[in-house]
Amino acid sequence: MELNQKLRRFAAGPKLDKGLEAAELGFANGREVSNPFGRYYMVEHTYPLDSYHGRLRLDSILTVDWSRLAFIAKDESVKTLDLRKALFLDTETTGIAGGAGTCAFLIGVAFVRDDDVVVRQYLMRDYHEEAAMLFDLYRMIQEFDAIVSFNGKCFDWPLLRDRFTLARFEPLRKNYVHLDLLHAARRLWRASLPSCSLDSLEAHVLKVAREQDIPGSLIPQRYFDFLRTKRAELLIDILEHNRSDVLSLVTLVGTLDLMAGKPAAEIKSDSLCWAIARLYVQDRQWHRAIEFLQQAASLNQSKAVRSAACSQLALIYRRLNLWDQAQAIWLMLAQENGDIQACEELAKFYEHICKDLGKARQFAKQGLALAMAKDRLRAAAFEHRLERLERKLARQEKTTLSVH
């Protein structure tokens, strides 16, 4: 039996059309480019800085305070970012599995030139064009010092470096500043948005309208379909999708900067307010943190955020030795919410700071009663605390008696 017959019996499937050999794309602002590695296709659009993408104008990028971005991104090196040397980058790939068999067939980059934002898209019209496409990208990247991406630290950037290796280019030597907006966005919107994907941010935060957009998960298959058929229209919405993504990176930076620059009173969402407060807490900027925590609590939108913000506030007051404020919050939490932590803090406070053993015992008892049902470990700690308090109280009584 012939091998081919055997193979076919092993997995019979429909034969697919080979399609046309050459693709006549003819996209607006598109052209074929050639270099020593061959040919590929490039599309370049320019957007005046005063045009809108979503609800923000592109020129919002010009006034960004990069140390604020560094603060949100938790990356000191972002402070030194120079906009004119920054490349906004997003790739469309043949899959998300990673490994040497996954490649980026479309790479969109944006940068500021004069009064415009330029979006340049490198497209390979078939696999053999990859090296030529990568070569021009590789040369261009070397003219920049910073990369701005969305999840690029884990995905796009290592993928591109792998592709450069496969094309046998010298490894990039420069240490690029890399602002990955996914991590920054997560810190701000994790609690208030259903998802922190770029799609979700565009819909809820950037207000970018997308008509007839192709979902990201369908892009690889769509590209394979294009390869088989060479029908140019199959690529149109992928290119648009990619352009919109790259522009969204620009306005996302602007939005993050705006958010980080607002005073607490202007923030109208408690979970966003809480998220910003957390950043200040982590950065040990206590007074800014108090401002945002108070706002989060007073917005009074969700009980969970309110009590988390109050607990955090009390902890900061304790740290700053502002005992009256701390005590007031704990009392409120213990009474209103039956908060175990607050009971513990109060028991500690009355025992060690106020030396009021009776009150300490009262809150230890309350805490124990609350913890019994929920938290065995905590309950044991309360039991231990109560025993000690009882001993101290007994001793105190004895002393009092003997004095009399």
Binding site: L7, F10, A11, L16, T94, I96, G98, G99, Y127, F224
Partner: protein, 760 residues
């Protein structure tokens, strides 16, 4: 001391059960001085360890590798094998610090041992050489350092296949500077597993070529009949064989022991486990350090507890008995190994985990419960006994399987031919196709590019038609979102195994795997699945998701499903008629289809049928290769065909169990079908087929060695003392019909008589 124990044994009533006793004389060491090109730092390190010169095979390996020859070193256990590869590798790295080596071991445990050894050597060489393990347990933050900095990366073929090669760009530093690839325990890479590994090594070499390196392969193997051929097929290059062992060995007594028959008519022998225990006890009680090998984990645990219990009565010896197997934690294993070397442990019961290159020093006595499956393993296990000059003993205790009975009563087989051939077929269509996908994922194929020296254009264009590859401008590109290595397992016979999940008391842990073909028989709903001696009732079989849910039960029956196997010959590859070969026989491609209709519940001991249930699962089909032979039987017409069927089934059973002797495979790798009148040959015919789709070469090997295979089966049948068939020959006969054994014998006799001597 051991001399006295053996003398007593020779005089005792047990001696009559000994089927073979031979003294292997002492062998002196053969040395060569350190090679002049050996780095003085390494020479000093060796001297510190008390090594003043090399054994001849170590020196030979060093010279060959130093002149860039690919080699296979074949040496027995504890002959200083690791130096054969460590010396040339370390020597080169000291001189060229940027160069790197990749070590492959079949298991993680072995890899860890090697890393410990290499690290300590690296430290003594002034921290110049960094060794790392890279496997599934490696922390993700450590991976980066290993990729860029490890001089020696130690891993296993599975990790190379799914973790390293598909991400080769991240390993550029390794591949660009790769000077050596060490493949240890080469004999483990046989059959389906070996065929996969051969393809992984083809991919490795392809990636190396991309980065401009061409590493030297240093392979090491236990004794097999065809080390050169096996090495060449596995790595796809010519190899030099180094098999003149220069290591010394003390005198050794090798004893085969067959447990006595306790029931003549059913052919039941005393349990080999209990006999093993008895013999091991004798050694240990006399303070002789002993290792007991047993195949099944459950036997291991039972033996450990039996031995500990008997020694409790004798005082403090119980603590000196330990078990050792793969499932133990690494730390625990290291501790046992150390205690063995230091003599703190007197008796250890092990699965074949200790057969491989784990350093435990040498022990004085080895007791082996049951033939370990291959002669190579047997010699590895025997090799665990033996110190440089003292007398040592190795006792093989046979069990009642046909294979064991053949070995135990035909010791010349073990000693005569030495070892079996390791077989692989890297070009098995299914395996090759799987790895071509992985290879195309890793790097595009060029038109006309060979893979392992083979023209694969037809495969590639098939993958193009399937829409997985795209052919453009003379290259084949991967055009799929899939990461192919994830779907291909090197270990399991078939890539889609069923798992058995224990749901007892709300738990859900995987306790075992069954291949797709056997699933309808073993894990249908209502089946009693046996695992480590425990019974599980299968409550649900999820065919789509390939999962069976079972819970622990204690019942007095087992289940037996009838698998109706039908076999159709698709094409004949080679065929011979009577006169040139015994009987008419062929090998070729077949379609095996199997369906189970019902299962029976059978009570233990009485074997009465106490119920049945239906099985409704889809019929399964598999294309594979088979060997078959047909023999006309002149019988009275009055002989009922059921009797003939029973007889043929008996012969099939016998062949299924003895054929692995020649093939270095497990009985589970093969299946048999016996047909009283085959639609293809029109004669009584027995088919032996391979259970892996497409086959890996066993069918052809059976065809080539058919006379030997049939003769062995016949000898075993003749020598079996049972009356009407027993587990040791044609299998237990439920209806004791005296004639089955008789007709089975006749069938084999006729088959052998009608042939002349096999062709030269």
């Amino acid at each position: 001391m051991i001399g006295q124990v053996l003398e007593q044994f020779r005089k005792s009533h047990l001696a009559k059960n000994v089927t073979f006793w031979q003294t292997i004389p002492e062998k002196p060491a053969q040395y060569r001085p350190f090679p002049s090109s050996l780095n003085p730092q390494i020479a000093d390190l060796l001297r510190d360890k008390g090594i003043e010169q090399l054994y001849t095979h170590q020196a030979q390996a060093f010279e060959l590798v130093s002149s860039s020859k690919d080699i296979v070193v074949v040496t027995p256990t504890a002959s200083g094998k690791t130096l054969c590869y460590n010396l040339p590798v370390l020597n080169h790295i000291l001189a060229n610090p940027a160069s790197r080596a990749l070590y492959l071991f079949p298991t993680k445990a072995l890899a860890q041992d090697q890393v410990a050894e290499l690290m300590s050597m690296g430290e003594r060489l002034g921290h110049a050489i960094k060794t790392y393990t890279y496997d599934g347990d490696t922390a993700s933050d450590a991976r980066q350092a290993i990729r860029s900095a490890g001089n020696i990366v130690v891993t296993n073929p599975d990790m190379l296949h799914s973790g390293i090669l598909p991400h080769h760009t991240k390993w550029m530093g390794l591949f660009e500077n790769l000077m050596y690839v060490v493949v240890d325990e080469l004999h483990i890479y046989r059959g389906v597993f070996g065929s996969h590994v051969a393809n992984v090594l083809r991919r490795l070499q392809r990636v190396c070529r991309f980065y401009g390196s061409n590493p030297v392969f240093i392979c090491a193997s236990a004794t097999i009949a065809n080390p050169g051929e096996h090495g060449r097929r596995l790595i796809g290059r010519e190899v030099e064989v180094v098999d003149q062992n220069g290591a010394p060995s003390g005198p050794k007594e090798v004893i085969f022991y067959n447990p006595p028959v306790v029931n003549q008519s059913l052919g039941i022998r005393r349990s080999s486990l209990l006999e093993t225990q008895r013999i091991a006890e004798e050694f240990i009680a006399n303070k002789i350090q002993t290792i007991v090998f047993t195949r099944a984990r459950v036997d291991l645990e039972v033996l450990v507890s039996y031995l500990q219990r008997s020694f409790k009565r004798l005082g403090d010896l119980a603590e000196k008995i330990r078990g050792y197997r793969g499932g133990y934690l690494p730390k625990q294993r290291r501790e046992i190994e150390r205690d063995l070397r230091e003599g703190k442990v007197l008796g250890v019961v092990s699965t074949n985990a200790l057969e491989l290159g784990v350093d435990i020093g040498s022990l004085q006595a080895v007791v082996i419960n049951g033939y370990p499956g291959t002669i190579a393993s047997l010699w590895q296990q025997i090799g665990r006994a033996g110190r440089k000059h003292e007398l040592a003993a190795a006792v093989l205790v046979g069990n009642s399987s046909p294979l064991n009975q053949y070995i135990i009563t035909h010791p010349e087989f073990v000693l005569g031919q030495g070892a079996e051939r390791a077989l692989i077929d890297p070009d098995n269509m299914y395996i090759l196709l799987s790895h071509l996908k992985c290879a195309a994922f890793e790097l595009p194929f060029q038109a006309g590019e060979l893979f392992g020296g083979k023209d694969v254009a037809e495969y590639l264009s098939f993958l193009v038609d399937e829409g997985i590859l795209r052919f453009v401008e003379g290259r084949y590109y991967w055009m799929s979102e899939v990461y192919p290595a994830n779907d291909i397992s090197l270990r399991s016979a078939s890539s889609d195994n069923f798992v058995i999940i224990d749901t007892t008391d709300g738990a859900s842990s995987v306790i075992g795997e069954v291949d797709r073909f056997s699933a309808p028989m073993l894990i249908h709903e209502g089946a009693i699945y046996m695992h480590e001696g425990r019974q599980y009732h299968v409550d649900q079989l999820d065919w789509e998701r390939q999962k069976a849910y079972a819970r622990r039960v204690k019942v007095d029956y087992y289940t037996d499903a009838n698998l109706d196997v039908d076999l159709k010959v698709l094409s004949v590859s080679e065929s011979l008629q009577p006169g040139t070969k015994p009987a008419a026989q062929s090998w070729g491609e077949v379609l095996v289809s199997a369906k189970t209709h019902l299962y029976k519940k059978i009570r233990f001991y009485t074997h009465e049928n106490i119920g049945w249930g239906p099985i409704s699962l889809p019929e399964q089909e598999m294309h594979t290769t088979a060997f078959w032979f047909a023999q006309k039987l002149d019988l009275e017409p009055s002989v009922p065909s059921e009797v003939v069927q029973n007889a043929l089934n008996g012969v099939a059973h016998l062949l299924l169990n003895t054929a692995p002797l020649e093939l270095m495979c497990e009985p589970g790798d093969l299946g048999v079908v016996a047909q009283v009148k085959s639609p293809f040959t029109k004669l009584p015919t027995i088919y032996i087929y391979e259970k892996y789709p497409g086959g890996v070469g066993y069918a052809k090997q059976l065809f080539d060695l058919s006379r030997l295979v049939l003769e062995r089966a016949y000898q075993l049948l003749q020598g079996c003392p049972c009356e009407a068939g027993c587990p040791s020959c044609i299998g237990p006969q439920v209806d004791i019909d005296q004639e089955a054994k008789q007709y089975a014998r006749l069938f084999l006799e006729e088959a052998l008589k009608h042939g002349t001597e096999p062709e030269a």
